[in-house]
Symmetry: D2
Subunit: 137 residues, 4 copies
């Protein structure tokens, strides 16, 4: 995406040793990669606060036998079709479904969609993962 | 899933009024549904701590042009194929991909898979949503 | 604080049994108390989002031997004296101090104070606990 | 605390520019200090998971007029006196108190104390801030 630059970081020796063993346990191949991830994490928090164009994933777990539930979930998704990219549906067992909805757009809109879906009777749990479009980081 | 039981909750009047306006703003149709959601939220936290069979979603954002990145991501997913249900891939722009991986199994294993994927050079961001198989709640 | 009202909640029997064993493990004496806590938790999140008058606690861990550190921490606290109620200082060992700052006021201001203190060179860690003045809940 | 070492980090130019403006907005004087904070944050999460000797702060908001509440809070604190360093008490208004309890010890014990206090009838809200003794970072 862009030119690589290099800069120096000064750190207490003890702290660096502890960091090295942490990143080894998390499978990082080098310090730069681990530090880049820490930095990106902070920037993505800001993107969501600042209201920039973001990406995310909504998960829903529900019992599809509940009357009218599928219709309601589909209706709401249509109301928000401008921020929904696609939906993945998994049959966890005879009753329970896991739905993963990939979204992109304004953080407030995404939050609102997640709230709407989560509050439907029959939806047992809903989560919202806040990530990035990758464009700016 | 099971028989409905009913029990009484006693509450300060002020608190109930505030709760009512909160759940209205979140689109709940009645108090029972809102309270069921609060209860399930707490139970799901416990499922993840207790190491029970759980469901989840891992999101990854990465630039697919990075050398060997796709191979690495695929290799790791194969090592954990017993907990991966399916994967949804979205092209965010010419460079950036959003991948949503539906998972199910032991919380520790799922956490490990998320760590492994997140630490790959070229993966810009990774999240893990902790949800439930719905079986017990 | 106010009159007690009572309302009924309907719930799947299984879910209630699980809830009962959760709240027992957390030492609640009855369901109403546990549910009140879940409700208040949600309301307090809203207070912080809505910008209402809130209370909080900032923790700092730092090495008081660092040159000029104590002066800087004190200077900043004076700039924010209108939101700081009081400060508790603990000597963790020869080097490390734990400072607990009780705050009250506008959420944005409190967040800003926490950021300012946390970013001082020599401050090893800082946290912000978001709680309530209790007035409205 | 220890010798300073220096190492290089390589990063995309765009990412570094964004990081620079983020840390400026958070008042950091240089990159090293900001990166040290990101690293310490991750290490402190590990200390709490690994069960090492940690420090923390518990906040409680409660109405001191509630019958027997002060006695109960004090009784429980005595049961955990080995992990409680000191307590700061603030009168928020005629009814509401904010109590900040500085703790140190085993993470599991601290969590248990926080759960016990939070679940007392009359305690409106409780939080637990997880920080460090500073010894190892």
């Amino acid at each position: 995406m862009s030119n690589i630059v290099r800069f120096g970081v000064s750190l207490e020796k003890d702290l660096l040793e502890k960091f090295d063993s942490l990143i080894e346990s998390r499978n990082y191949t080098n310090r730069s990669e681990a530090i880049r991830d820490l930095i990106r994490q902070e920037l993505i928090k800001e993107e969501w606060i600042e209201g920039e164009d973001v990406a995310g994933a909504i998960t829903l777990v529900y019992d599809h036998h509940k009357r009218e539930l599928l219709n309601k979930i589909t209706d709401i998704q249509h109301d928000f079709q401008n921020i929904i990219i696609s939906t993945q549906h998994i049959h966890l067992d005879h009753h329970n479904c896991l739905e993963l909805i990939a979204v992109r757009g304004n953080p407030g809109q995404i939050q609102k969609l997640a709230d709407r879906l989560r509050s439907i009777k029959g939806v047992k749990h809903g989560t919202l993962s806040m990530t990035t479009t990758g464009k700016n980081i």
